[in-house]
Amino acid sequence: MGQFLQFAINGLMSGAIYALIAVGIVSVYKATKVVNFAHGYLIMFGAYFYFTFAVLLPGASWAPGWLPSWQPEWLVAMKADLPMFSPMGAVLDWVSNLPRILLGIFGALLANALLGRVVERVLMRPLMGQSIFAMIMVTVGLISILSGASSLIWTADAAFVPHIAPNTPVRFEAFGTTIFLFGADLVNMIIALILFGGIVAFVRYTKGGVAIRATAEDQSTAYSMGISVPKVFSRAWVLACTTGAIAGAILATRNGVSPTLGLFGFSVLAIVLMGGLDSYVGVFLAAMAVGVLEAMTQWQLGGEWAEIVPYVTVLVVLLIRPHGLFGSKEVERI
């Protein structure tokens, strides 16, 4: 039972990150009807931008000394008499990393937002009104371009980045077994949940959000009501890319920066279809369910089985409910 709890919590934590990635795909789909197969690779770019701004830039010779490692006197004094790997030490390490973590996050957000705008303007705008097939395949082509570009710029090397939050271990007893959790993972989960909630609220209650929903409902009507549809498009892409940057940074701290991060996009795509392309609630539930299922598979069957969990579940769900758990059925007219 204790073991079960351990893996359930692990699953919820990765589920939250899946949800954060998924929100990008759903937002773009809602506004533009494009399903972005390359979203995973945009996330990978977010991770590499975080790596650039949090590790490479502060490591440069011309960077000020406090940037890579901030060591004010009070911090040094506090650190002096702590044993290695103590919980407090983890917090202090985080504090001295704080300047570059902040630089990393803001840099990644800005750079990824810019990337999203460029992609939207150059590749997606000309395809407005084209067939779904063409739009899917353009994002597929984007996969190759992004992954080639990333290995050209950063070399395809797995690298280490600082955690966003203090990585204090959390340990407690439940049902007779010790439960191990990483502090940073808990914070990551909270960040992911807050962002997810924030975006749902944005789309539901703000003026910009209403514009997105109106465009989703009917593009030409939205146009005639004075909504700038191209602006809505680019806003949706920027939104997806910025959430992607955060998700990328989180994934990078968990798993290291590497080109394999792009593959997350495919499992999340499966999750999105499972939940229903245009339903935030459905996607959230599907992400959590897949996260937990994956963790359980990992526990019972081992690591390699966990990799196909999203794919098996999406096939089962699509056979039973072709438009996902909460997706709205498209009405076709002949």
């Binding site: 063409a134 353009v138 597929v140 190759s144 495919f266 196909i308 056979l319």
Partner: protein, 356 residues
């Protein structure tokens, strides 16, 4: 429109090569292939064999995507199934069936088996389409590769470490050199193209096209969606399975990672670049998709003089160019190279009276 197209008999109108241009082109290609087999150096043969194998698979995708309008991003898995099942069958039947006739037993079984899996994977196509189907096939291909790699099937598939493949023996003719394989591959590829070309002239092919243009309308016209969508999946899977068989015969060993997502995307990209729903589309597409990376490699090594420090830029560059080609054709020339060729031929034909 091509002039000199006057037909005086129904027979002439129904021929596959219904005008002199097509005849010249097809017979010319036969001669070119024969010349390649005789005179080309090993490197050219190697590239040509790869093109041939890929071509058979892309012709299969063309039936599904080009003619029936169903999108699949997972057909690499069918190539894998063909390759692995033919190898497993060879190993199973060694000693039971004499070597010279082995090919005639195992290849049909392997292709039929792949077609059967194709039907199973195609089942979601009855309820979902477009994007959902793309993801469903993608998911199915991840699962197939997972199963191929998995330990429990390792006695037949070799697991992650791969498995050695047999060299084919056709009635006593042992094809153990690349040049001999090239002859086999070109014959199979030509037959595959002709068969596909003929298919779209039949009732089945016309049903496919009707489904592509509007599936509900087709159903109202009395075309059974169940039957024809699954037939299309089965046929395209069979073609990919055949490509897998050739691949297994061509290479001495196969590994699961040869059949992953990259292959599936390459197949679809070749089709889009070449021209969907056209007989020659796959041919043009495959030539471009295989040649461009090779050219980049050659040009890059020419520029850098074989310098290792800069060799690392070639592979990412190939990847970028691959994506850029795909996007360029989607945005600027959605009908593919085939359309460019058509346009130029037409202009040439009408010259000097009109320009296109």
């Amino acid at each position: 429109m091509i002039n000199g197209n006057l037909k005086s008999t129904y027979g002439a109108d129904e021929r596959v090569l219904d005008n002199a241009y097509k005849q010249a082109f097809v017979y010319g290609s036969f001669m070119a292939l024969a010349a390649l087999a005789m005179f080309a150096n090993d490197y050219v043969i190697l590239i040509a064999c790869k093109m041939g194998i890929l071509l058979v698979a892309v012709v299969g995708i063309n039936i599904l995507t080009g003619y029936t309008g169903l999108v699949s991003l997972g057909h690499g898995a069918f190539v894998a199934i063909g390759a692995y099942s033919v190898t497993a069958l060879h190993n199973l039947f060694t000693g039971i069936i004499p070597e010279p006739v082995m090919v005639f037993v195992v290849v049909p079984i392997a292709v039929a088996f792949t077609a059967l899996i194709g039907v199973i994977v195609g089942l979601p196509s009855l309820r979902v389409k477009g994007l959902y189907l793309a993801v469903a096939t993608l998911a199915a291909s991840f699962i197939v590769i997972f199963l191929v790699e998995h330990d429990s099937l390792a006695p037949w598939t070799g697991g992650v470490v791969g498995i050695n493949t047999p060299a084919p023996n056709i009635l006593g003719w042992q094809l153990d050199s690349k040049r001999e394989m090239f002859i086999l591959i070109s014959v199979v590829a030509i037959v595959a193209i002709l068969a596909a070309q003929n298919l779209v002239r039949t009732r089945v092919g016309r049903a496919f096209i009707a489904i592509r243009d509007r599936d509900y309308s087709a159903e109202i016209l009395g075309i059974s969606l169940l039957k024809y969508k699954l037939t299309s999946f089965a046929l395209s899977a069979a073609y990919c399975g055949l490509a897998g068989v050739l691949l297994a015969y061509f290479f001495a060993r196969i590994l699961p990672e040869q059949f992953e997502l990259d292959l599936s995307l390459e197949l679809v990209a070749a089709l889009i670049v070449g021209g969907m729903g056209r007989t020659m589309g796959p041919v043009f597409g495959v030539i471009l998709i295989v040649l461009v990376p090779e050219l980049i490699k050659v040009i890059a090594s020419g520029f850098t003089g074989g310098n290792t420090a800069s060799a690392r830029y070639a592979a990412p560059l190939q990847e970028i160019v691959f994506g850029a080609l795909l996007i360029f054709f989607l945005l600027k020339e959605p009908l593919g190279i085939n359309h460019i060729v058509d346009r130029n031929l037409r202009a040439l034909n009408r010259w000097p009276f009109a320009r296109g």
